[in-house]
Symmetry: C2
DNA sequence: TCATTGGGTCAGCTTTGTTGACGCAATCAT
DNA sequence: ATGATTGCGTCAACAAAGCTGACCCAATGA
């Protein structure tokens, strides 16, 4: 992995070992930069739209995940976002009051609330998505399919076990809103995450 | 690969072209997920350390960029972070008071403040870096050199022109803390960015 | 029947961003 | 040399989105 990839920074004075060490470190610092700038600009588009509507990034996340998985319960959503009930509430309640998100009682367990986008919610989510799509599509096209594959691989690698599981459930093949195998282990897996495992602050 | 995955909310019926379209969309939505989870876990490590010290992510960013480019002026730093003077101030002032960052008057222009890490600042930045290094190194190793190259390419592609320029200046070949070609065009380029071009909120 | 679970809510605190308005010193242009 | 501009600092007030702790209700399930 070391040799070819680099070319980076001139490194200046150096013995061989020093150089290797330096290159690796520079590589990692570059990764930090890339994630900072990249993520920032990735979110900039939707942020602008949201601001006009008096919403923020947190609203977008809810819309996004409900768009991906209509029928998520409140608890599952909490597990995905890894925030507290109260934090979610402050964003979810307005979204429901303004008619972007609708609730329905769970069929298996009537304590649960199944969340889904209303047509207005879908429209807004769509709009935010399209804006972000421009950014990502451009990046993907500039980079090419092989790079995209690599990008995915690395991003997945940055994630901890919980996030990987959450991602699996989100992008898994079993598309149905309320999956065929709904509670069995899915609930068991989601439950511990309800009180976020990683206390994480997430810009 | 097409048929199983659909079921999407409104999607409903589908012809061939529709399906292609869907695949692209699923790819992009996956990218959104990856960036959300990936970035979150990427920052989780340092966040934990910082919390113990009563600091936040904003402090880390300052330490990081000063670590990369000792001798940055306040204005340049503002341009990189794309936040307001006041926001930076609230984080920079404590960092100086607690002895992590030192100022020195600019030599060419004595109005400027050249910022640099003190030894304590370097130590802290190092600690944060090492923590993050674990995360990134693991991801890089799991993914392999080709993927890393792709990752970089895509991340760069997500960035707007301003961020690309900032990144160039940061990772550029001219390593010296206070570069040999300091003011000439560097200042000219940095200046317009001083009042952030993108109003951006940046988690 | 009664403890547990899923969900909601009140109240208060923190971090990190934002505006707007000034003040001071150094630089630059007329 | 004077006056405008620029680089930096600071006061004040506000907003978004996290957090904790304390309670409450209704549905489940042992």
């Amino acid at each position: 992995m070391p040799e070819g990839m680099d070319t980076r920074a001139g490194a200046g004075p150096a013995g061989a070992g020093r150089n290797l060490l330096f290159l690796r470190e520079e590589e990692l610092r570059l990764a930090q930069d890339l994630l900072f700038f990249g993520y920032r600009d990735f979110t900039a588009g939707p942020d602008a739209i949201l601001a006009e509507l008096g919403m923020g990034r947190a609203h977008h996340r809810v819309l996004h995940f409900l768009g991906r998985r209509p029928g998520l319960t409140v608890g599952e959503l909490l597990g995905i976002l890894a925030i507290t009930k109260q934090s979610l509430s402050r964003v979810l309640t307005p979204l429901m009051q303004q008619g972007y998100v609708a609730q329905s009682p769970g069929r298996a367990d009537r304590r649960q609330r199944l969340l889904a986008l209303t047509p207005e919610g879908e429209a807004l989510e769509r709009r935010l998505f399209e804006r972000q799509r421009e950014t990502v599509t451009r990046a993907y096209r500039e980079a090419g399919p092989v790079a995209v594959e690599g990008f995915r691989h690395v991003m997945r690698g940055l994630m901890g076990p919980d996030a990987r599981k959450a991602l699996e459930r989100l992008s898994g093949t079993d598309r149905p809103s309320v999956r065929a195998t709904p509670p069995a282990d899915a609930r068991a897996a989601a439950r511990p995450a309800a009180r976020p495992v990683v206390p994480g602050k997430t810009p």
